[in-house]
Amino acid sequence: MSASTVLKLPPQETADLPKKSYLNSEYGLKSWLLTRDHKRIAILYLFSTVFFFTIGGTAAAFIRLNLLTPGGELMAADTYNKLFSIHGIIMVFFFLVPIAPAVLGNFLIPLMIGAKDVAFPRLNLLSWYLFVTGGACELYAIIWGGMDTGWTFTTPLSTHYVNTHVIGAALGIFIAGFSSILTGVNFIVTIHRLRAPGMTWFRLPLFIWSFYATSIIFVLATPVIAIALVLIMMERTIGIGVFDPARGGDPLLFQHLFWFYSHPAVYVMILPGMGVISEVVACFSRKRVFGYTAVAFSSVAIAVFSFFVWAHHMFIMGISNYSALVFSLMTMLVAVPSAIKIFNWSSTMYKGSITFDTPMLYTFSFIGLFTMGGMTGVMLGCLGMDIHLTETYFIVAHFHYVMVGGMVSAFMAGLHFWWPKMTGRMYPEALGRLAASVLFIGFNLTFFPQFILGYMGMPRRYHAYPPEFQVLNVLSTAGASILAVGYLLPMLYLTWSLKYGKVAGSNPWRATGLEWQIQSPPLTENFLETPVVDFEAYDFEWLANKEKNEVQSVG
């Protein structure tokens, strides 16, 4: 199978990285910290999110270790609660939400639409600083005692019954939220206003469509969690009583406001992944994505519907049963666009010319895991089934299938796919394929047993559990250690490739996007002259002609 690759590298003896690129246009810490170049900001984001990922991942490792034994002898209940709160808060707000938009989106959106930069470069840098400030608040809260509310901050627990650093944690998320808002505003304006001549909406890569949908959610949903967190902070500091049942407040109102953001945020975490998958599937099948418009509009449909379904997190929490009916119905509707996408990606491969490079392997893993995550999501969206399944390990497994199996696989696919564009060098292909397989196996071993645990009723967030659940928990922990290897491996070989990787050339995958038609790594200004687009997205015929012309002109 190793022969099966689409890769076309320049002759390594003569090839070298371009003399001028965004990486070496300026030097020094200041040139990075004060940069307005969207590509450099993307790299800054990459480092900071990976940093937070390691924190969240370490917390996860301790959680799994503790669950090896039913008695939870490794640590105290309190420590365990803090660890899963840290894991949830860090992974959701400081890894999954920013990872794809802020890293891949920042780097690629201007390149893909033929712009020199995002619309507001200064705001872009500001958003990174806000993110870092929010992260610093969070770290402060963690180091000075942590918080044990879980990432959902359920009132009145978070307002009146815990004595940990809830305010620090909430403040961190509040500030990081503004970073998301600015990123969203920036992307929407960029996509609307800075497209190259000829780049019509229906010539945009599907990547752009899904990031556009993501940005809509950023802009419209994030402020609602901001206000919910402000109310929590006010409640804790001066006791205003809006969520306090003892004073006539309704604690469920907090959940309404919280999930009004946090459900759409789930789509923030998956939509960019869908964009990446569209690009990768097209490139490695050498085909235009099957049903371009359907995929494009399903992204927007997901973004719109995602605002109508939030209360499905509250079916058993004492909301009105009739209201639950409405929300369940909308949940069923939001599942349809995802199904459409899955089928379209699969059929893109039909009559393609498929190769199995690392990004494509990650894409297979995405399609499989996301389908399972999505289907279990439908189970949870069904009112009667939700009663038994919610708040158990079933839901834990479900959202890890979507978030980790889906989003992180997609992110890895994207990272490998555009790594040559970002750095100018290839990662080691054999190691890449190995890591992709290890991740897939490790992931399933970790989270599949949790579906069974969940159906048997093991509640989530339990520090100790009845002994009959032990075997499956041990399996899960074993899987987690394989998963850890699967994450460490790319970190190591990607770092290695920065210096020793093969020189990639401008278009190693022979892909069609505008970003591949310029040198890698790109210039600070991206394009020497504003490109004029006269071809559809994923037009491999156009690419073949172009390559032919280049050969002729050189010859």
Partner: protein
């Protein structure tokens, strides 16, 4: 399948001769092709930011609506302690400031520096007046022990209000719920005043630059966008005023 580039609808039209002149305009940032593109972009960005503001206030309005339905008598009683003349005056002040702001943007459009400065300073003063009156009201509420969490007392709701002798005193359980009204009152007006405060600070900055002639030489994006912000803050107040001050004054 191929399209002629001339069919395209996208915006960044390649620089034609007339625009090459603008290319070196000092206001044009490097990544925009034309000034009108830059202006459109910043305007659109500002609107998107205002959307987030709508949703930010939206969360509080939702809370307000729910508790108002639940605890209507408490909300009526709480509303009767608002100083109606101060609220009305503040509404008028804010509308005036919106008008002067709109006129300020207009003066920037016609590139009249003096007029622009005059209107901006008027806006600034009106903004400060608004904050002053608001501070006076808050002080009044503090005196009456109406600040939840800090010095709240339900005394004045369980007894007959001298200013509304027809009002019946609230039973204890409902009087407790006036806290919810005042929590939301302070939250909404507080966040609104915070927006005003931010607006006033930016206005100072703008006045300084306008004095140096920054916005009357063709690049008025900043003033225009600030105008949008200021009007938005005005709109929020337009809703806050009837919702907080005017619940059943007739009773």
């Amino acid at each position: 399948m191929r399209c002629n580039p001339l069919d395209s609808q996208a915006i960044a039209v390649p620089a034609t001769k007339s625009e090459i002149v603008h290319e070196h305009s000092p206001h044009l940032e490097h990544h925009f092709a034309t000034e009108s593109q830059q202006r459109e972009a910043s305007n659109f960005g500002m609107w998107l930011f205002l959307l987030t503001e709508i949703m930010f206030f939206g969360g509080m309005f939702t809370a307000y609506l729910i508790y108002r339905i639940w605890y209507y008598p408490a909300f009526v009683a709480g509303s009767h302690w608002m100083i109606i003349w101060a609220g009305t005056l503040n509404t008028v002040v804010l509308i005036c400031s919106s008008f002067t702001m709109a006129m300020g943007v207009h003066s920037a459009e016609i590139r009249n520096r003096k007029l622009l400065l005059r209107y901006l300073i008027a806006t600034l003063l009106l903004g400060c007046v608004f904050l002053g009156i608001k501070a006076f009201e808050w002080h009044d509420e503090w005196e009456h022990h109406h600040v939840p969490g800090l010095n709240f007392s339900i005394n004045e709701f369980t007894h007959v209000d001298p200013r509304y002798p027809l009002d019946k005193p609230l039973p204890r359980d409902m009087a407790e719920k006036t806290q919810d009204y005042f929590s939301l009152y302070f939250l909404l007006t507080g966040v609104h005043a915070l927006h005003m405060l931010i607006g006033v600070s930016i206005l100072l900055f703008i006045i300084f630059h306008a004095w140096r002639g920054a916005y009357t030489t063709g690049n008025m994006n900043f003033v225009e966008n600030f105008g949008l912000y200021w009007h938005f803050v005005d709109i929020v107040w337009i809703f806050l005023f009837p919702l907080l001050y005017l619940i059943s004054r007739h009773q």
